[in-house]
């Protein structure tokens, strides 16, 4: 009954709003001439109208209540899981923090009392005290960890004191940590707070360890 498949395809493309203007005018011209196609096109349009008029049904009474009654009550576990899923960065940060505290406390006790000193030959070590002897000039930076520094001579560089105090000849007698006469230091003097430095130091180490893999 129909002319040819090509025009029928054009009709459908037209109905889907998926036709170029040239194709459309081609179809229009054809429909003017061909009665069969006209009929076909009319039937298609009518079919769509009919489909749209199909019976509408409504959900049974109480449908919403039924659904709400059947919803699973949220368990605490599910709530946590949802929270975790929504805050991945917080969770990662928490895990990182726990691991860090763990590694920190395990290393904290290991080397606390060990005295570490930079390697200048001029430095004299007396128990927990590092001494720059009088009349001696120490070249380069001095680093002292877990010990006190007594400067009688001169340090030609920066001094970093970690977990220790700077003593001078007077204060050694007094037993205090006065820094008043640190005049023998020709660079910057830095005394670092123990806990903060310790954490910072281990954060750096932790990352080094991570990236070593």
């Amino acid at each position: 009954m129909s002319c040819n498949e090509e025009y029928i395809k054009r009709m459908h493309d037209y109905l889907d709003g998926d036709i170029s203007t040239e194709e459309e005018s081609l179809l229009r011209r054809h429909l003017e001439d061909c009665e069969d196609c006209q009929k076909h096109f009319h039937e298609l349009n009518r079919t769509i109208t009919l489909i749209r008029s199909a019976e509408r049904v409504e959900a049974p009474v109480g449908f919403t209540e039924n659904v709400m009654g059947k919803l699973p009550t949220e368990k605490k576990r599910v709530k946590y899981k949802r929270w975790f899923k929504r805050h991945p960065i917080l969770v990662a940060a928490a895990i990182f923090f726990i691991l860090m505290i763990g590694s920190l406390s395990s290393t904290f006790n290991q080397g606390t009392d060990q005295l570490v000193v930079s390697t200048q030959e001029e430095l004299v070590i007396d128990g927990d005290t590092v001494i720059v002897p009088a009349g001696v000039t120490v070249p380069g930076d001095v680093y002292v960890k877990n010990g006190d520094l007594l400067v009688l001579g001169t340090v030609d560089g920066n001094v970093t004191l970690f977990n220790g105090e700077l003593l001078d000849s007077d204060s050694e007698l007094d037993g205090g940590g006065l820094m008043a006469s640190a005049g023998g230091v020709n660079g910057e003097l830095e005394t670092v707070d123990q806990t903060f430095e310790w954490i910072w130091y281990h954060i750096k180490n932790f990352f080094k360890g991570l990236f070593a893999f």
């Binding site: 395809k9 079919t47 009919l50 049904v57 959900a59 049974p60 919403t64 919803l71």
Partner: protein, 187 residues
């Protein structure tokens, strides 16, 4: 209305279960009707439509708020109806139809031999008849025809809902329209 639903969905995501009841009552007729047309059986339609809403609730976190909620919901519902149809025993379908469609079958047997009188599209019988003719289409055409002309989705949305390529949607809607044209020609 989209804004309203969007707001409700965000509340549900935050754990406010009661906000979901507004979502259900807004979509209940559409989803129920969709299931009913797919399954041709009121009892099953209610069952599956409920299941669709429950699944939507349980999986609400996987819904992306920037997308259209109705598309997502229809997709869940359509997949469930397809599963249900697959699980059916071959003979179950016939029984179900008589039970579910309130004597529609007797009526349509009449209709297939006799011409329908009148052109009043408004008439309830004609509406039922059309519904029946749609329900006789193969499921893959039926779903698309329904989504296009009864739920007014675009072809692109339909391709998302059914998870088939746009080209396939076009082919199927052409065939579906042709099949219905033949069935409804004498109306």
């Amino acid at each position: 209305m989209d804004q309203f639903i969007k707001k409700k969905i965000i509340q549900v995501k935050k754990g406010d279960q009661s906000a979901f009841s507004d979502v259900v009552s807004f979509y209940q007729n559409k989803i129920y009707q969709h299931c009913y047309r797919m399954l041709g059986n009121k009892h099953e339609a209610e069952d599956i439509a409920q299941e669709a809403f429950i699944r939507a609730y349980v999986n609400i976190d996987s819904f992306d708020e920037n997308r259209k909620f109705s598309t997502w919901l229809y997709r869940i519902a359509t997949n469930l109806t397809i599963d249900r149809m697959r699980k059916r025993k071959p003979d179950y379908h016939l029984d179900a139809e008589v039970k579910g469609t309130d004597g529609l079958d007797m009526y349509t047997q009449l209709a297939s031999t006799e011409r329908l009188p009148g052109e009043e599209v408004e008439s309830r019988e004609l509406q039922r008849y059309i519904h029946h003719e749609i329900s006789q289409l193969p499921a893959k055409y039926r779903s698309i025809i329904m989504l296009r002309y009864l739920e007014e989705f675009s072809l692109k949305e339909i391709s998302e809902i059914l998870d088939v390529p746009l080209g396939t949607v076009k082919t199927r809607i052409h065939r579906g329209r042709e099949a219905l044209r033949k069935r409804l020609r004498h109306v």
